[in-house]
Symmetry: C2
Subunit: 257 residues, 2 copies
Amino acid sequence: MKILVTNDDGVHAEGLMVLKTALDKVAEVFVVAPDRPRSACGHSITLHKPLRAERVVLKDGSHAYASNGTPSDCVSLGLLGIIDDPVDLVVSGINHGPNLGWDLTYSGTVSAAMEGAIIGVSSIAISVASLASGIDYSVAAHFAVDLATLLNEHKLPESTLLNVNVPPLAASEIKGVKIARQGKRRYTGQLEKRTDPMGRDYYWLGGDPPTDVFEEGTDVNAVADDYISITPVHLDLTDYASIDSVRGWGIEKIAIC
Amino acid sequence: MKILVTNDDGVHAEGLMVLKTALDKVAEVFVVAPDRPRSACGHSITLHKPLRAERVVLKDGSHAYASNGTPSDCVSLGLLGIIDDPVDLVVSGINHGPNLGWDLTYSGTVSAAMEGAIIGVSSIAISVASLASGIDYSVAAHFAVDLATLLNEHKLPESTLLNVNVPPLAASEIKGVKIARQGKRRYTGQLEKRTDPMGRDYYWLGGDPPTDVFEEGTDVNAVADDYISITPVHLDLTDYASIDSVRGWGIEKIAIC
């Protein structure tokens, strides 16, 4: 099996190193990842400037590519250019922090897996659901190996990927695995205005962490209940439940003039 | 009605100016938009550096804010900081080029409307579905006014926005409006490797334009048939159709160790 590993925390992040070390046992692993942290970069791709991919040495002495591009760019670089052979699987992570509910469109980790799925390669995004420092990635890395093995036997539909969130717990404390739908996280964004030494205003985006909405069957609930959540994610954002009600507004009867 | 206008083509783009001029007739319009083109930036938000919002003068002599942030940042800046009064509607566009099918997660235009919806304000993304130069934005701008008026009367569900694509045609050539689901566009990404004058490799992302997949009831079909398409879009990316088949792989029976 040939696996492309990327992330959005940067090529030298611990979560990537632990993931690569685990996957090395079952596959030939290639690493193409951002040269710096690129969290919250969404499904951003770089069309306006050239992409670089510099060879760097990881902590285990192996070679990787560090790119000035986004996580999605790294997947394109890996699958369309740098790696000669066909790749069987893209694994994006292990992210430091949850990618649950409404986090998904903001997430560089998940968006990299979207890019893999669009290019037509089986893809996984995997995160440990804690922003605490010093978290242990080994349970998530072990699970990624199990999942990679399963994805070698089973096929996902076109442009569908798996989004995995692992609670920040020891293996013995994790109750199991749940296939779960994407839940909701309410963001209460805030903006802090400051003035720089030159007297010019600037702003920091911030605010409290998002509020999880606990609903049965969601990724949010699964992780809160100490389960690993797996959500099949696709690129169809249609709100099917709203189609009829919006049609009822009479928009289709507007005269175009 | 108070309307925040933003885009991803930059504050001085023609599509934004035509949109603002049309909306001025029915609302008080505030413009906060990127200081340069930010196409394909996805739902990227800026957490690692301060945001600026400089007052600039538009072609009609009115004042706007130009930001170093992404389109989504501009929506946060407008709704959470710069505009004191409550805003009734966010309109993102008019984008130069389609935002159909799999374009949506890449799109800065659509992501800005996502940000408005997450903050809790009714939001529209609107695009003219042509990358040709010299396209006419007036039909789309007129339609945005009609839609803004409707959204003043009707409420969308929490975190749902409307994604609108207008064919690049004269009003008399447009056959009407269709509420449509999001379709598919197949990307055939390519990577072009070059060498710079210093002998270092670099890459350009590119490739042929995406291939539209023509399926009944989709935005792709509606626009190809000379209709304006409106798709209700939400942030739930769950591939519900895959939940049972993925469960059938036996993942939930994996022992965590």
